[in-house]
Structures are given as structure tokens and as C-alpha cells.
């Protein structure tokens, strides 16, 4: 009796394992495509499933950054007079005095011209 129960259990486990394996085949491409659609560069190589946009740490950081820049953590933006924490780690060759980095915020030009190329 006990043996029969164990066998049944193993049977079900095998069936589920197989079903799950196949669902990767059928759902995988969609899941991967969806996750990649969140990436900055969906065609990155090597492809990875660690997506910056999905990490709560980054959500927190971007909320703080947006709050510093525009006063609103959810809508972001940059307001005049705001000060933003800027942290960067970089290497300089030995003996050379590290020059403080300068940050230039690019001016986005309104209205991109037609993007049509043969």
C-alpha cells in the first residue's frame, strides 16, 4: 500500500516536471521577449535575464534621484536650483592627480527630424 502511494506520487512529479519543461518551450520566448522589451538594448549580447529596470534597488535610487532633481519622486525631471548627488568611481594611473569629473547634461533638441533611410 505504501509502495503504491509512493509510486503514484513519483508518477505525478514526473508528469509535472515534464509539463513544466514543455511550458518553457511554449511560453519561454514570450516571457523572454517581454522581459527584453524592458531593457535599454533588447539585443544585448550576451543576453541576460537580470534587468536593471526590474530591480527594486534601482527603483529606490531613481526615486531619490528624481526627488533631488525635480522635487517629485514619481515624475522626475530636472528643476532649476536642484542639487543632485553624483557618485562615480574611476581609476587614474599611479602618480597622476585625479581630475574631478565634470558632468554635462545634454540638451535634448525638440522634434527629431524624419528618420527615414534607405
Amino acid at each position: 500500500m505504501h509502495n503504491l502511494r509512493a509510486r503514484r506520487w513519483a508518477n505525478v512529479a514526473a508528469v509535472y516536471a515534464f509539463l513544466l519543461l514543455l511550458s518553457i518551450v511554449f511560453m519561454g520566448p514570450f516571457v523572454f521577449a517581454f522581459l527584453s522589451s524592458l531593457k535599454d538594448n533588447p539585443t544585448e549580447w550576451p543576453p541576460s535575464l537580470l534587468i536593471n529596470q526590474l530591480r527594486p534597488v534601482n527603483w529606490g535610487a531613481s526615486y531619490r534621484l528624481a526627488k533631488q532633481g525635480g522635487g517629485n519622486g514619481f515624475l522626475g525631471g530636472m528643476g532649476p536650483g536642484g542639487s543632485i548627488e553624483f557618485e562615480v568611481t574611476y581609476w587614474t594611473p599611479e602618480g597622476q592627480e585625479p581630475a574631478p569629473p565634470e558632468v554635462v547634461i545634454p540638451r535634448r533638441v525638440q522634434g527629431a527630424p524624419p528618420r527615414r533611410w534607405p
Binding site: 538594448n41 539585443t43 544585448e44 549580447w45 554635462v104 545634454p106 540638451r107 535634448r108 533638441v109 522634434g111 527629431a112 527630424p113 524624419p114 528618420r115 527615414r116 533611410w117 534607405p118
Partner: protein, 413 residues
């Protein structure tokens, strides 16, 4: 009583339809919709006030060529429409596009002489002109200044030959295995300019294509050779869809692109310091090569309002409209008078890029981007050969032989 009023309304409507001329304009969707709508609002409507002519833009976001062929065949085509040089010939030969010579003769403001000759030439068939070029593009060398600075190499210049250009690219590519000199799009739409520089013409005197023409082989080897040595890279191999994307990714120092690149950089790499130069000259012939991509306004031969349509065309191709388009950095004007426009002399990368592209149309072996009755089918075998060699699937010899066989089959049909 009621019946009478209905009859009256009908009579009135018919009367209105007779006096008001409605001109439909067909063109691309996307950004063109916004531009042409604004153009119509700012220039066309004010100029047409009181003439009873109304204008409407009909953007087609799907495959425009297929749309216009169907619409012309079914008799529902707009009065004026875009004609890309790439497929204009097939429409013109079918006799569905109105020749414009008579209208030019009567017009006071629109004459073919006002436009860059090579553009007008591109829309001339059997001595008749079928389209007024609205703008154009050619290829230029777009380079990333930072990468050249980093490698300590001089920027590409207008005096470069293939040899000096290659030497510069080689040094930039030496920075790092993941940095490349040139984006090698495996397409005739880029490579063709180099083949023309070497002296290749798509069709020889017998109307046949000879890919074993020494000029073609030389250009082919030079271009594909860069993939082999790692001086260049196919955009696909660094996960980019086109040369411009490769340049914007800052992994590649140079891309051969047209003025569309300006907008792409604005969108994708606004921080990038870039410059432009004319295409390099062939070391022996001393010539540059280039392709002209252009779109013209064509008139529907079956249009009921041809005179009115030509009036609209006059406004759409007028100097002030082209100046407006140019100043907004949207396209490069086709009028010769705008060549020494102060806009071009401005000291920023965008204006210089536009000027370089403008100059490209009249320097060296420049041919319009179309291939007679064969169209895109003519390019396919060459594109495959480029791609096969650069992805190391075939040798130059094998790839060209295969491509030649396909072209022979195409032309023998």
C-alpha cells in the same frame, strides 16, 4: 416644398463641387505627416486663399510604393504624390505620371533649371521631366570625434583617399578588440558609393551587369576585407540593425550614412561629438563615388485638376518652403539657389553634416539610387554576396560568381 428644397441643396452642392478644386496629396506617414501638414498650414493655404483650391494631405504609413501602384491602377490615387527615385521609373514607364514640361513652360516660378541637375536628370525619361525633386540625400563619412581623439588619429577629411582613410580606421580599431573603425552594412546602398568611386557602373554598354569588372572587385575586396581584419564590423555582429546604430553605440568610429544620421544621433546618442567628411577618393581614379537618394513630387496623369495640382506643386517646391525645411534641419533642399545658404555655413555639426551631404551630390561619380526595371531585385544578390563574405561563409570569388549567376538569371528573364 420639401422636395424642392432637397433639389435646391443638390444643385448647390453640384455648383460648389464645380468651382472648388480639391487637391489630394499622398506621401509617407510618420514624421512626414507632421511636416507636410505644417507646411500646408504655413505656406500652401495662405497662398491659395481665394482661388477655391483646397488641399489635403493623405499620409500612408504602410508600404507606400504598393499603395501608389494600387491606387493609380484603381483610379483612386491622389493628385500629387511622393515618388521615390528607387521605384519612380516603373510608374513613369507605365504612363500614369503626368509629364511636366508643358507646365514648366507656362509657369513663372517653377523651372527645372532651378534644381540641381543630377536630381532632375534622375526623374527624366525619354526627354521628359516627370517629377520635381523635393529633397535629397547622399552618403557622407560620419565619425565619432572622441574615438579618433582617443586613438590620437587625425579626423577623416575631405582629402582622404581609400588608403589614408583605411590607415586612420586601422589605428582607431587598434584601441581595443571591441572598437571598430567602420560600420560595414552589407548593402549596396552603402557599398555602391565605393564601387562607383572605383569606376563601376551598374549596367555596361550592353545593359548587362558585370560583377567581375575590376573596379567592382577592387571595391568589394576593400570593403569586405575590413571585416576580415577587424578594422570594420557588420552592424549585425554588434547587435545593431544598421550602420547608424553602430555609430551611435560608440563601438564603431565611422559610418557611411546620409543626413538622416543627424536625427538618429540626436535621438540615440545626444552626447556624441561627431563630424562629417566627404566620401574618400579612390587612390587611382582620384574620384569619389556617391548614391543619390531622392524623392520627387509627381502628378497623377488621371487627375481631374492638373492645373490646380501644379499650382500646389509650385508652392511645395518654392524657395521659401525649402528654406523653412532646411532651417528646421529636416531635409536637404533640391534648389541650386540654396547652395550658399547661410544655414550651411553655421559652426555646428548638424549644419556641417547637411552641407557635406549636399556637396556629395555633385562631386565625382554620382548615380541615382535606382536600377532600371530590376529595382531591388538587382541589389539582392550583391547584398547577399557582401554578407556571405563578411560572415565568412564564402570567399570573394565564390560569392561573386553566385551573385553574377543570379543577376544573369534575373536579366535573362
Amino acid at each position: 416644398m420639401k422636395r424642392l428644397s432637397i433639389a435646391l441643396v443638390v444643385v448647390l452642392l453640384v455648383a460648389c463641387a464645380a468651382s472648388a478644386q480639391h487637391i489630394r496629396i499622398g506621401g509617407f506617414g510618420g514624421n512626414d505627416t507632421v511636416i507636410v501638414e505644417e507646411m500646408i498650414e504655413l505656406f500652401v493655404r495662405p497662398a491659395l486663399e481665394g482661388t477655391g483650391i483646397t488641399v489635403q494631405y493623405e499620409p500612408i504609413s504602410d508600404d507606400f510604393q504598393r499603395y501608389i501602384v494600387n491606387a493609380l491602377s484603381a483610379g483612386t490615387a491622389p493628385d500629387l504624390f511622393y515618388m521615390d527615385i528607387f521605384w519612380a521609373g516603373s510608374l513613369i514607364r507605365s504612363g500614369v505620371v503626368e509629364p511636366l514640361d508643358e507646365y514648366f513652360a507656362k509657369s513663372e516660378v517653377l523651372k527645372p533649371e532651378y534644381f540641381i541637375p543630377s536630381l532632375v536628370e534622375a526623374f527624366t525619361y525619354e526627354g521628359k521631366i516627370y517629377g520635381v525633386p523635393k529633397d535629397f540625400n547622399t552618403l557622407a563619412v560620419f565619425y565619432n570625434k572622441d574615438l579618433f581623439d582617443y586613438a590620437g588619429v587625425e579626423y577623416p577629411s575631405n582629402d582622404d583617399t581609400w588608403d589614408t582613410f583605411y590607415a586612420k580606421l586601422e589605428k582607431v580599431a587598434a584601441i581595443d578588440p571591441n572598437i571598430y573603425g567602420l560600420a560595414l552594412q552589407p548593402e549596396f546602398a552603402r557599398f555602391g558609393a565605393l564601387a562607383y568611386a572605383a569606376g563601376f557602373t551598374p549596367f555596361n554598354a550592353d545593359g548587362k551587369t558585370d560583377l567581375f569588372d575590376p573596379a567592382f572587385v577592387e571595391a568589394f575586396k576593400w570593403y569586405t576585407g575590413m571585416a576580415e581584419t577587424g578594422v570594420g564590423v557588420m552592424p549585425q555582429d554588434i547587435s545593431q540593425g544598421w550602420g547608424g546604430g553602430a555609430l551611435a553605440s560608440e563601438q564603431v568610429a565611422v559610418a557611411l550614412e546620409g543626413a538622416w544620421m543627424v536625427g538618429a544621433i540626436k535621438g540615440d546618442a545626444p552626447n556624441m561629438q561627431y563630424g562629417t567628411a566627404l566620401m574618400p577618393k579612390h587612390p587611382q581614379t582620384g574620384q569619389r563615388g556617391n548614391l543619390i537618394f531622392t524623392v520627387a513630387w509627381g502628378m497623377n496623369a488621371a487627375s481631374p485638376n492638373k492645373e490646380a495640382a501644379f499650382k500646389v506643386m509650385e508652392i511645395l517646391t518654392s524657395e521659401e518652403v525649402q528654406q523653412w525645411v532646411l532651417e528646421r534641419g529636416l531635409a536637404i533642399p533640391s534648389r541650386q539657389a540654396l547652395a550658399d545658404n547661410p544655414y550651411f555655413q553655421q559652426d555646428h555639426a548638424e549644419a556641417q553634416a547637411n552641407y557635406t551631404v549636399f556637396l556629395g551630390a555633385s562631386d565625382g561619380n554620382v548615380l541615382p539610387f535606382h536600377f532600371g526595371e530590376y529595382g531591388g531585385e538587382w541589389m539582392d544578390p550583391i547584398n547577399q554576396a557582401l554578407s556571405a563574405v563578411m560572415s565568412k561563409q564564402a570567399t570573394v570569388e565564390e560569392a561573386l560568381r553566385e551573385a553574377q549567376a543570379q543577376l544573369d538569371a534575373l536579366m535573362g528573364r
